[in-house]
């Protein structure tokens, strides 16, 4: 099979800002990203949801680009922009015609240098974030299920177990001093990576980075809370009420082994064997064969983009005529089968071909942004591993996995005492939707 060799060059400025450039002339478009190594996992206690609220504040104005100017300058250059908050990183990105490259970098440098926001901006974005939580979680059937429901059951360390979108009381308590302190602590060049991808030459990218970012002073190295979990020794269960939906649901999460180990690679292919679309063992058994489940999906979310405890999660909505215990029993039967019999050589070969094919697509796009996936992986490999070239070699570990490794991973990690289960039960079960 063809391999993909992505040209990647990187450097570090004197202030600690890492710069990664990946030239590609497919289209006269350039994608710019700035990733800060702070996500909702490590936001301050008593300030749940703050990392995400802060992300919104980064669009509210900086020293030379007041509120609305940032968005206006990108859109009017023919580009699009957004940001997103993850467990361990927060990103800001733009895709623009390449003639706007310097302007985009100037804007990113301006807000890395000096955020300029006031109380009115904070009130405004607090309201916007609350509507975001309502539209995605509180006013949606199965909203936030299971990404917000499972962590409080699965984990004991606050870093991993709190409400990442934020309790409204915590959002209300956040003030401008919190915003400035957070900015000063985490939004320093030595805690960030700048990515420039697409229609740009490496030397041009480095020169512009130096010109626009080099005078931003480094900060103290941020101190991070330890997200380590104590060893789990028994199954954990929790219940959440479903307000709108009429189908009972459950999510089952197993702790994933340490990233970039041989076990982690085996677990990833095991995950594909279980969750890989309609060919996946769980979908085939519970939806297609036994016809217990209506929806079933899952896996290790954003497998290259986290840097702490995480889970492989299965999400199931099932028919009301089956009890939760019956559904779980059918799930367990699939797990037991893969522990006892493993997977065949033929299956493993298929899984590897699909894994590689999916990887190419991941790099090419995502979120409507050219090369979003490549940007995301380069950023995470830089911030977590200081090794952006991993985008060209990370596949090797997965392609080296053997059948017995997959079975061993099933026996070692798919244990009841290593899992957590959340049941989301409709308040109006059995009743017709009003």
């Amino acid at each position: 099979m063809k391999r993909l060799q992505i040209p990647v060059e990187s450097t570090t400025l004197a202030n600690g800002l890492k710069v990664v450039v990946a030239p590609d002339t497919t289209a006269p478009v350039v994608t710019v990203g700035v990733y800060y190594k702070i996500g909702f996992r490590l936001e301050p206690r008593g300030r749940s949801g703050f990392a995400h609220l802060f992300e919104h504040m980064m669009f509210q104005g900086s020293a030379n680009a007041p509120k609305m100017q940032h968005i206006k300058l990108i859109n009017s250059s023919g580009g699009v922009l957004n940001g997103s908050t993850h467990y361990d990183v927060t990103n800001y990105y733009e895709a623009v015609p390449s003639n706007a490259l310097e302007r985009v970098l100037w804007l990113e440098a301006d807000r890395m240098r000096a955020l300029k926001v006031d109380d009115e901006n904070l009130r405004n974005q607090r309201d916007v974030v609350k509507e975001e939580v309502r539209v995605n979680v509180l006013n949606q059937p199965y909203g936030g299920f299971p990404w917000l429901d499972l962590p409080p059951v699965a984990f004991r360390n606050w870093a991993n177990s709190h409400n990442f979108y934020g309790d409204f009381n915590d959002l209300d308590a956040a003030d401008l001093a919190d915003v400035q302190a957070f900015f000063k602590t985490y939004y320093v060049p030595n805690n960030a990576v700048l990515l420039v991808l697409g229609d740009v030459k490496a030397e041009e990218g480095f020169a512009l980075a130096k010109k626009l970012f080099a005078d931003i002073p480094a900060g103290a190295a941020p101190q991070f809370a330890d997200p380590t979990e104590t060893e789990q020794t028994e199954e954990r269960r929790g219940d959440v009420e479903e307000k709108f939906g009429t189908l009972p649901a459950m999510a089952i999460g197993y702790v994933v082994p340490q990233r970039r180990t041989a076990d982690w690679c085996a677990m990833a292919l095991l995950d594909q064997a279980l969750h890989g679309g309609r060919a996946g063992k769980l979908y085939r058994e519970l939806v297609l064969e036994k016809q217990i489940a209506v929806e079933l999906d899952g896996g290790i979310d954003d497998i290259f983009g986290y840097n702490g405890p995480t889970q492989m999660v299965t999400r199931i909505l099932h028919k009301p005529e089956y009890s939760s215990e019956q559904t779980l029993a059918a799930f367990d039967e699939v797990i037991r089968e893969v522990q006892q019999s493993g997977i065949s050589e033929e299956e493993l070969t298929q899984l590897k071909v699909k894994w590689q094919s999916d990887y190419f697509s991941t790099l090419e796009g995502g979120h409507g942004i050219p090369r979003y996936g490549l940007m995301h992986l380069l950023a995470c490999f830089t911030l977590f591993d200081n090794e952006p070239q991993l985008v060209n070699t990370i596949l090797d570990g997965f392609l080296a996995v053997k059948c017995e490794d997959v079975q061993a991973a099933a026996r070692k990690y798919l244990l009841s005492q290593k899992r957590a289960i959340v049941f989301r039960t409709p308040a109006n079960a059995g009743k017709e939707a009003a």
């Binding site: 706007a100 100037w106 309201d127 006013n139």
Partner: protein, 457 residues
């Protein structure tokens, strides 16, 4: 082409000169059996993306059964004369491929993507699904029950309830009024109906095959001829329905969801299809109104007032008719305030010329994002599909930016007056009646419904 050099902020770098945008060559062939084929090279990744469209969808199937084209498309992938459902899924995985089979109002489509190395076997799979689907009885029965549960679920989603109601209001007796079948209709589907729809719709004379990716067009065309060449079948007979009447006067349609903690607003009116010469100017007007982050509506009700997270307006082109719509999920206590601003911004565009600098910004935006499609195989496929399915001129991609650039403030004023039909806008609100009814009534006569579409007193 001109781009803006002057900036209001100190230090903002000017834009460098615009780089040339070169659209790749589209190689168009019609096979002897009537199958239209368009091939485009794109070598960013060693994969290819394809879509096999049939130019008939749920609207054309309405007299056979609402949603029947979608049900048929769902069952198509569950078995062929040569492969069982399980073989199909495992073979796809072995090719590193993704595949979906679905139907919209105007077309059915088998969409696929896979490794360039395995192009021929994937095309063979697509060919089998398009010509030799077996509709196994047990698979049909399962998918039908599955569909019933999906329909029940969708009736709990505010976004679905809003769009379902708006389409009913705008399209009345026309097939476009129906976005989803009822549970009773799904329960009544017969396997024979699927088989007969499949025989009529899935024919080469009714089809368009688009392939974009890492291949040499000549070699790929030989593959396509080899795989699809022996296929036979005529274009289906289409039914003609009377044009839907555009509803007169603002009216409010409330879908009651007890306990809702937010209100989904969706308002709309009739507009145009992509074939209409006004399409591009309406697109530009929409992007100024609420089609971009930097648009007036987003700046107003999100960035200034904080009423909502995701306000948006859009022009929705169906094949025969189009409609304009604006949506926002807002706090319950600002439903009236949000609607007021929605109308204010619309009426302002209808009465005051857009300032030149703002127009230039919007032109740059639309023209810039149009070229983004070049960067990915799926993006390119999407844009080429739009041109082919709507039978737009061959140079549509090449001339689009120029057509955006020449528009003037007067053009936009006329366009807003013609299509942002504020006086006749139909307003759908989905939320808890007890929280929002009195606010919504301020904007017109109100009719309330439950989630199943039954009228409430």
């Amino acid at each position: 082409m001109a781009t803006r050099a002057v900036e209001t902020n100190s230090g903002v770098p000017a834009l460098a000169s615009e780089r040339q945008v070169t659209w790749p060559k589209r190689q168009r062939t019609v096979l002897a059996n009537g199958l239209e084929v368009i091939l485009v090279e794109s070598h960013a990744i060693p994969k290819f993306h394809g879509e096999l469209y049939f130019r008939s969808g749920n609207a054309a199937a309405i007299d056979r059964g609402p949603g029947l084209a979608e049900m048929t498309a769902t069952v198509v992938r569950t078995g062929t004369a040569k492969r069982t459902s399980r073989q199909i899924e495992e073979d796809l995985r072995g090719l590193g491929a993704d595949l979906s089979s679905s139907a919209g109002s105007d077309s059915c489509a088998i969409a696929f993507a896979g490794l360039a190395d395995h192009a021929e076997p994937l095309l063979e799979m697509v060919n089998e699904l398009a010509r030799e689907a077996a509709f196994p009885a047990a698979e049909f029965e399962r998918e039908r029950r599955q569909k019933l549960e999906e329909i029940k679920l969708s009736r709990t989603e505010p976004g679905f309830l809003a769009s379902e109601r708006l389409r009913k209001v705008l399209f009345g007796a026309h097939p476009y009024a129906t976005v989803s079948p009822t549970e009773e209709q799904v329960a009544g589907y017969q396997r024979d109906q699927l088989v007969s729809l499949y025989r009529d719709f899935y024919t080469p004379a009714n089809a368009l095959l688009l392939l974009v990716g890492d291949f040499q067009p000549e070699a790929m065309l030989r593959n396509v001829e080899k795989v699809f060449g022996a296929w036979r079948g005529a274009k289906p007979q289409g039914s003609v329905y009377p044009a839907p009447a555009s509803p007169r006067g603002r009216q409010v349609h409330l879908v009651h969801v007890p306990g809702a903690v937010q209100t989904q607003i969706l308002a709309g009116c009739h507009a145009i299809t992509r074939k209409n010469p006004d399409w591009i100017r309406l697109g530009l007007t929409n992007s100024l109104y609420g089609g971009a982050f930097n648009s007036r509506l987003v700046m107003n009700i999100r960035e200034d007032k904080g009423y909502t997270y995701s306000p948006r307006s859009s022009v929705n082109p169906l094949r025969q008719y189009g409609y304009f719509s604006v949506s926002a999920a807002v706090r319950n206590d600002v439903v009236a305030a949000s609607l007021t601003e929605i109308f204010y911004e619309m009426d302002k565009l209808r009465s005051v010329r857009v300032p030149e600098p703002e127009l230039l910004d919007a032109q740059n935006y639309l023209s810039g994002i149009f070229s983004m499609g070049l960067a990915t195989q799926s993006g390119l496929l999407g844009q080429i599909a739009v041109v082919a399915l709507n039978e737009l001129p061959d140079d549509y991609l090449e001339t689009y930016r120029q057509k955006v650039r020449v528009l003037t403030p007067v053009d936009l004023l006329e366009t807003a007056r013609k299509y942002l039909d504020s006086a006749n806008l139909q307003i759908v609100v989905v939320g808890d009646r007890t929280q929002i009814e009195s606010q919504a009534r301020l904007f017109g006569d109100l009719q309330a419904y439950d989630a199943h579409g039954r009228r409430l007193d």
